[in-house]
Structure formats: C-alpha cells, structure tokens
C-alpha cells in the first residue's frame, strides 16, 4: 500500500474542490441567471475538458505550464521551481480538468430556481447577498453537492492528465491511480489489488455520505 499516493490523491481531491467550488458557484450562477453576448461560446469552452481526451488536455496544459510559456516562467520566478511535475501544477491541472464537472451541475441547480422565487426574495426585503445566502444557495444545494462529488470522484480516478502534467514522482505527484498502474507494470498484483480496493471503498463511502447528506438537506423533504 502506497500511503503517500493515497495522501496525495485525497489532498488533490480536496484541494480541487476547495479551489473550484467557490468559483463554480459564482460562475454557474452567473450562467444560470444572466444573459450575455457570447454565452453560448463560454458554455462550450466550459464543457471542452469533458470531451477532450485527457492526454490531449494534459499535453496542452503541459505546454501552458512549461518553462517556455509566460505562465510557466512567472511561476518559476515566483516559487523557485517549475510548475509541471509539481503538486501545485497537478492541482492546477486537476482544477482545469474538472471545470465542467463543477460548473454544469451548479448551473442546473440555479436554473431550477423559478425566477419568481428569486423576485419574491427581493420583494421580502432581502439584500442581494441575503437572497443568495438564504434562498438561492439552499435551493441550488443539490447541484453544488453533485458538483463536489463528481469532482472528488473524478479527481481520484484521473489518470491521463495526472501522468502528463505531474508525471510519477513518489510523494509529490504519484496519485493512487498512477501508483496502481505503476505496481501493475512491476507485476506487484497484490499491492495494486489493495490500492484498487482502497479506491473502491473510498468511492462507495463518498457516495453513501453524499446520499445521506442530500437526503437530510434536500429542500423538498421535512
């Protein structure tokens, strides 16, 4: 059992959620309630990571993060080490790869709120922030929860992007999925089996927790 890989996988999942969820709520709501020029294009761009093969996405991210790109150079001069093949680079890549998994469910969640309900909140004297906090967010909650689960599950299972951008550095960028592949290559079926079972257990536990949570917090139930 590669405990370091498990730790990295869990940190990567949690970190991706922490970065993406606030942004996703802001952006998903924006797409749900506002109409603007070029909205269709923006929605298409948000979805691109979903349809792109992970290795293709990883390839472009690697180019973008690399020492020859302005982003890569800026990061290196600020932090002191290159962005690719580091945990930070992996986290950033994971966040980008998960954009559609976060934005879409949240957007649907906010879209499901009738516009009259939003207007009623304003007519009750709630300020825009109170409207969001007390009416919109609780009603869009199932969408936000779905976004978090999908992101976590997807991050645990991500392989192509991780390998392209992060490589396979033990203790730094080797996630559990990569470690399983690594062990299989070394004919270490036992370790691979234990780690695969661990991932399976985490996935089932995640789903059970979220189902229980959504039962308890769903707006339509008492």
């Amino acid at each position: 059992m590669d405990w370091a890989a498990l730790r990295i996988s869990l940190w990567l999942g949690a970190g991706t959620i922490a970065i993406l969820l606030p942004l996703g709520v802001w952006f998903g709501r924006l797409l749900a309630v506002r109409d603007f020029r070029g909205k269709l294009l923006v929605e298409a761009l948000v979805t691109v990571p979903l349809v792109l093969p992970p290795t293709v996405l990883g390839f472009y991210l690697l180019l973008t993060f690399g020492a020859r790109s302005p982003i890569g150079q800026a990061f290196q001069s600020l932090v002191g080490h290159p962005l690719p093949f580091s945990f930070q680079g992996l986290l950033l890549a994971s966040a980008i790869a998960n954009v559609p998994f976060v934005v879409q469910p949240i957007q649907r969640g906010f879209e499901a709120i009738p516009s009259d309900v939003r207007d009623a909140a304003a007519c009750c004297g709630l300020t825009p922030w109170q409207q969001f906090r007390r009416i919109e967010l609780p009603l869009a909650w199932p969408g936000v929860l779905t976004a978090a689960i999908l992101t976590f599950a997807h991050t645990l299972g991500e392989f192509g992007v991780v390998l392209m951008v992060g490589g396979n550095l033990p203790g730094q960028t080797r996630t559990l999925s990569v470690a399983i592949y690594d062990r299989m290559q070394a004919f270490d079926d036992r370790s691979a089996g234990i780690m695969a079972a661990t991932l399976l257990a985490i996935s089932v536990a995640t789903l059970m927790t979220t189902t229980a949570l959504s039962r308890r917090l769903s707006p339509s139930r008492g």
């Binding site: 009259d116 304003a122 009750c124 339509s220």
Partner: protein, 363 residues
C-alpha cells in the same frame, strides 16, 4: 395613518408596450383588468422595481421609487412593497412561518416569530405553521403568500392574479377575506386580474388595459356604466354597480331590503346583517323598460328614472339606455326596435323593471 398614495406613470414602445398613468390612494382597490398579454403583470413588476420601463415614474407618498428622468431607481429590496405572485413563489425549503419571517427582516430578531404567527393566524393558517409549501393546498399557499406580503408592512399591496390557481369555492372565500382584510389595511391595493368577477367583488377603481395601454381608468361605478366599452360588454355583459345598505331583513321571504342613493331594492340574500354595506350589481340585460307603471308582476323591483343617454351599438343590434335613478345610473339593454316603438329619448321618464339583482358584501 396618513394617506400614502401610489402614483405611477409608465411609458415605453417595446419590447412590452406600456402607456399607463394612475394614482391609487390608501383604502382604494385598483383592479388592473385586461386580457392576458396586455401587460398587467409588467405594471406590477414596474411598481415593485422588478422591471424598469424606459420611461417611468413611481412615487409612494413622498418617496421616489423610480424616476427615469432623474435616474432614480430604488432596488426592490428597499421598496416597501408587498407582492403576492401569481404562482405564490413561496420559498420551497422553508416552512410557512419561516416564509413569513423572511419578510420580517426590518423587525428585531426576537419579534419575528411572534409577528409571523400573528399574520398566519390572521389568514387562518395558525395550525399550519411548520408545514412546507409542498404540504399545503393551493388556497393555503396563497394565504402564506399574502401573510408574507403583509409581513413587509408595505406601503402598497400588489396582488397578481391572486385567485387564478384556486378552485371556485376557495376563490369566493379568499375574495371575501381579502375584501375584509383591505378595510383594516390602510394602504393602496392593486389587483391584477383577467376575471371580471374579481373586479366586481373587490375593486373600487378599475384600469382597463389593452396591449399595455389604459383604455379606461376610473371608479368602478363610472366605468361600468360606460356603454362604449364594448369588448368589456362582450366579456362580462354590461351592468350597473353601486353601493347600498341593508335596511331590513325579511327572513321569512328570503329577501333583504336595501336602500341606495335612488330608492329601495329587494334582493334575495341570507346571512347578512342590518346596516351591512353591500355592492349591488344589476346586469343591463336584466332590466326591462316600460313607459307606464305595470301592475301584478312576479318581480320585486320597479324603479323609475329619467333617461340620460341612449347608446346604439350597431355591432350588437342593441341599444343601451342610461337611466338616472336618484344618483345612481342604471343601464338597460334593449333592442333597437323597442327604442323605436317606445320612442325612447333623453329626458324621458321611464320605469325600469329589474329581473335580477345580485349583491356582494362590500365595504
């Protein structure tokens, strides 16, 4: 409380054409009446600040809510407006009492619960405090929406098709409740409806809307006796509406005696008290004219009056005769042939035989 009239002027060419101007005082009920798609709801939304027409002014007493001339626009959450949405728009994740409490943000936290319960008791929902909207019937949801609108302690109460989604029997009860409620509330009340029944039962003033334009605006009795509103006539039948007071009960005959500014009427009614104020509606089709007083009739009411106007409607082959009975204008719809035979003209003295009288408990 001092009168805090709502003055509204809205004008724009598109996308939703609007051209209306009205003032509604405390204690008045203005019904905005018109076919669907005529812009009724847009007017309410403009008053609440949920919509901003290109040229608009909305004043509540001395407060300016919207004035496109000066660029003033107070956001909806800072306008003292109580709005009851057509589909009620309750917050589905909150219980009835929390729905109402949401609109009590201007009150100290400790008072909110009590105040919300008081309001729900007022609309007869004291027993359903902790139900969620999905556990309430249509009529109950409407009451929660009403309590929530009142919780804001609004300077104006707006009702958007308040009875559209409830069945007939519930509708009657809600109409009566709103009618009795509005007499205790000292604020302008605006009611959007496409059902003339609501207008007759609740309104003191009417604004008739056609494609965003006010085709008529005024007190209910003034508008009901305008024979030129032919589409209205087509929709509901022309008639006269006026206020009366219950003078006597004839319980044995199932009748009540009403006095009004023009005489006495007998009307079928039960469950009313002496001195109760009622609104009388006499459809123009239910009035027969005679040049001399007839005798031996099955009907109860014969009033005499003077013809003030004769309106011929070529489209309907009918004539509407306007008759002054005391200070009330009575309308009678007769054929053109009858007008010729009786030689009806303005200034003539006639007897009006009234076949049916309907009364509503009014103010």
């Amino acid at each position: 409380m001092a009168d805090r009239p709502l003055s509204v002027a809205l004008r724009q060419g598109g996308p939703i054409p609007l051209d209306v101007e009205f003032t509604c005082h405390s204690g008045e009920v203005l019904a905005i009446f018109g076919p669907s798609g005529s812009g009724k709801t847009t007017i309410l939304r403009s008053v609440a600040g949920l919509y901003k027409p290109s040229h608009a002014s909305v004043y509540s007493g001395a407060d300016t809510w919207t004035d496109t001339e000066t660029g003033t626009f107070v956001p909806p959450y800072r306008r003292a407006v109580g709005l009851v949405f057509q589909e009620y728009a309750l917050f589905p994740h909150l219980t009835a009492v929390h729905n109402v409490m949401t609109a009590l943000g201007h009150r100290p936290r400790v008072e909110r619960r009590d105040k919300a319960e008081t309001l729900l008791n007022l609309v007869h929902l004291g027993g359903q405090l902790s139900r969620r909207p999905s556990e309430l019937s249509g009529g109950e949801r409407q009451r929660v929406a009403l309590a929530r609108a009142l919780a804001r302690e609004p300077a104006v109460l707006l009702l958007d098709e308040p009875f559209a989604a409830v069945d007939r029997s519930v509708r009657r009860r809600l109409q009566n409740e709103i009618d009795s409620l509005r007499r205790t509330l000292d604020m302008p009340l605006i009611l959007v409806t496409h059902d003339f029944d609501d207008v007759v039962r609740l309104a003191t003033h009417v604004l008739m809307l056609e494609q965003g334009r006010a085709v008529a605006c005024g007190s209910i009795s003034a508008l009901m006796s305008r024979p030129d509103l032919s589409w209205l006539r087509e929709a509901v039948g022309l008639g006269s509406v006026f206020d009366a007071t219950v003078a006597k009960l004839h319980a044995d005959r199932g009748l009540v005696e009403l006095t009004f500014d023009g005489g006495i009427l007998l009307a079928p009614a039960r469950h009313v008290d002496v001195n109760a104020a009622v609104r009388v509606r006499i459809p123009a089709r239910e009035v027969v004219l005679a040049t001399s007083a007839p005798a031996g009739l099955s009907l109860h009411n014969v009033l005499s009056g003077t013809v003030t106007a004769v309106h011929t409607d070529t489209a309907f082959e009918t004539v509407v005769v306007q008759l002054a009975v005391g200070r009330v204008e009575l309308l009678a719809e007769v054929t053109r042939d009858a007008v010729g035979r009786l030689g009806i003209s303005a200034g003539q003295h006639l007897h009006a035989l009234i076949k049916s009288v309907s009364i509503e408990l009014g103010q």
